[in-house]
């Protein structure tokens, strides 16, 4: 019966749309009707369909009209007078009236439904598929998943599912978006801390609402629960935070606030997490120190990347040329390399070697990192190798938790390399991130390259997640970069260019600098 109603409603669409997609639209309706049984799912299905109908029918007709005009204008150009019979695409007046009434009915139903649903608690609302706009917790979850969508999307689309082995992971320089952070913590697909939806697709909605229902009960906190979270936070801070003194101060601040009763008003978990984050930021001035509350239960052990994800990541890198966007020789024999990330040598070593080999005859070289958003330190070292005739100490990575320092060196000189004594330029912008900043900072400190462009974003460390319980985790920066020459890093301040120009002018400026230098020779 309901399928017949929908088939009838489909007649509201213009005929070209019905012919092309009518059957598929019906099929989709059947699929959804089969998978979404029960009162709330069916109601939601029909609300979806009616609102979709109201929006898309109008849009389809809007596109039909210009087609007719366009078609006749096109024909007239041929110069031959002729007559055309154009199918009348305008809807019947009855259909328009019907569509109008139906849209109105849909709107009224929706608004009644929404105001009605507003009186329920979070559980029912979640079950009805309208998670937004309720308790702070649900809102926050919405906000977070939006980030995760954006980050996950960005991440997948750009082929940045950097699944690193443990050693490389340790050395990934500060990532500034969830994708990288999640990856570095071993969790796939940019869902930082959120377990992947394992439920079969047909059960997805039910599972999601069940999770929200379950989570809804956990959002209230008593003093004992707060104390447990704070105790764990203090422990992780003291154990892992990059600076022992700051860790102690921050831990003391948390305990003092607790003792003074500053936390007593925070009975809501999400608000409590925000409060702790503020307290930690005030004490440490480190915005990477964050307390996170997730309504979805946190996994005991973050799952490692699946083999197919690693394969997918490799395919992506192959497809986008390992993010080597441009490799070529500019006028005056200046080599130019535009690299948009530092992909792991494990996958991209051959590509990097080929790129550098093709520039080996250049008299100067420009590394364009203006759109580079970071990656593997090993690739930083691999590329820097071509600029030196001896292994060179680039950076140290200090890990507080393990109290260990790992040194990053360029590799032994590449046989036949002629670039070691050629002028080098690195282009950077305000959006160059992490490993890109590392590459330019190291070469600047070693006075091996002239840095041209804008001051970078200034991210050298990042918070690594530590699980507190099923719903709380704390992000603690545990590793920092120490440059052997400056004894510090670019955290916060960013990398200052030697020649400060707008990022858009950086290439031209560097070319002129290189030409000038080459002429003097």
């Amino acid at each position: 019966m309901s399928e017949k109603i929908y088939a009838w409603l489909l007649r509201l669409y213009p005929s070209h749309f019905r012919e092309a997609y009518g059957d598929e639209a019906l099929q989709l309706f059947r699929d959804r009707a089969r998978d979404e049984k029960g009162f709330f799912p069916s109601l939601r299905l029909w609300l979806d369909l009616l609102s979709d109908l109201a929006i898309s029918v109008l849009r389809e007709y809007r596109y039909v009209q210009p087609e007719l005009i366009g078609a006749s204008a096109q024909q007239r150009l041929d110069g031959m007078p002729s007559f055309y019979v154009l199918r009348n695409e305008s809807p019947r007046p009855g259909a328009l009236l019907f569509g109008g009434v139906l849209s109105l009915a849909a709107l009224v139903t929706l608004s009644i439904f929404l105001s009605h649903a507003g009186n329920y608690t979070g559980q029912e609302t979640a079950a009805s598929g309208q998670p937004q706009g309720h308790s702070g917790v649900l809102q926050q979850q919405g906000l977070q998943s939006k980030h995760q969508d954006a980050a996950g999307a960005m991440h997948r689309a750009m082929g940045e599912d950097v699944k690193l082995d443990a050693a490389t992971r340790q050395r990934v320089i500060a990532g500034n978006y969830a994708g990288q952070e999640a990856t570095a913590s071993g969790q796939p697909q940019g869902h930082s801390g959120v377990p992947q939806q394992q439920a079969p697709q047909s059960k997805h909605q039910d599972a999601a609402s069940a999770t929200r229902r379950a989570a809804g009960k956990d959002t209230k906190l008593d003093a004992a629960a707060r104390q447990r979270v704070i105790a764990k936070a203090v422990e992780y801070l003291k154990q892992y935070y990059i600076d022992a003194e700051v860790a102690q101060q921050t831990a003391d601040a948390l305990l003092t606030h607790e003792k003074n009763g500053d936390d007593n008003a925070a009975t809501d978990s999400a608000a409590f997490a925000e409060l702790l984050t503020r307290q930690m930021n005030d004490a440490s001035h480190d915005k990477q120190l964050i307390m996170v509350y997730q309504t979805v239960k946190l996994p005991e052990e973050p799952p490692g990347p699946a083999p197919e994800e690693i394969a997918q990541f490799r395919r992506e890198l192959k497809r986008n040329n390992c993010t080597f966007e441009k490799v070529g020789v500019l006028p005056h024999n200046i080599g130019y390399l535009k690299l948009n990330s530092f992909p792991p040598p494990r996958v991209c070593q051959a590509k990097a070697a080929a790129a550098m080999a093709s520039l080996n005859g250049a008299d100067a070289i420009i590394f364009d990192l203006r759109d580079n958003h970071g990656g593997a330190a090993d690739m930083v070292a691999l590329l820097a190798t071509y600029l030196f005739d001896h292994p060179t100490h680039l950076n140290d990575f200090y890990d507080r938790g393990e109290n260990s320092t790992e040194q990053l060196w360029t590799r032994p000189p590449v046989p036949g390399n002629k670039l070691a004594d050629k002028p080098a330029y690195v282009l950077i912008s305000a959006t160059s991130f992490s490993a890109a900043e590392g590459f330019s900072y190291d070469l600047k400190m070693l006075q091996r390259a002239t840095i041209v462009g804008e001051t970078t974003s200034g991210r050298s460390h990042r918070g690594v997640p530590h699980r507190i319980d099923d719903h709380f985790m704390i992000l603690v920066p545990g590793m920092k970069v120490i440059n052997p020459i400056s004894k510090t890093n670019w955290e916060g301040a960013g990398v200052e260019p030697d020649v400060k120009v707008k990022a858009t002018d950086a290439l031209e400026t560097a070319e002129k600098l290189a030409q000038g230098k080459l002429q003097k020779k």
């Binding site: 099929q27 699929d31 979806d48």
Partner: protein
């Protein structure tokens, strides 16, 4: 058909491109993927879904890769769609645009829990 502007890229079209990044899908598969990847917030109705698919096909951002059964869903034959290299490029540049936007938002400190 006149060109339906994909500039700016509507979020439905972007979500469809993203859903096709990993595998070829039929219409219902796309709808489920989009619902999953948006945590249930975007459920594409048939009208929006197929009109977006039509536009993306016309602009060659996706292509049809023939009909086959999806055994999990019965014996009906379904049209499958695939992302083209230009579609992938479009998704990437849109993602980059969003990332840039996010950076601005982050710089203005309007995000709570600035860890993304």
């Amino acid at each position: 058909m006149p060109k339906r502007k994909l500039d700016p890229l509507p979020s439905a079209a972007f979500q469809i491109l993203l859903s096709l990044v990993d595998e070829d899908l039929h219409g219902y598969g796309i709808m489920r993927h989009v619902a999953d990847q948006t945590d249930g917030r975007m459920r594409l109705g048939p009208g929006t879904l197929y009109s977006s698919i039509q536009t993306l096909l016309e602009e060659k951002f996706i292509e049809e890769v023939g009909q086959r059964e999806d055994t999990k869903l019965g014996h009906e034959r379904r049209r499958y769609y695939r992302l083209t290299p230009t579609g992938r490029k479009l998704a990437r540049s849109e993602a980059q645009r969003l990332a840039d936007l996010l950076r601005v938002a982050r710089a203005k400190k309007i995000l709570r829990g600035d860890y993304v």
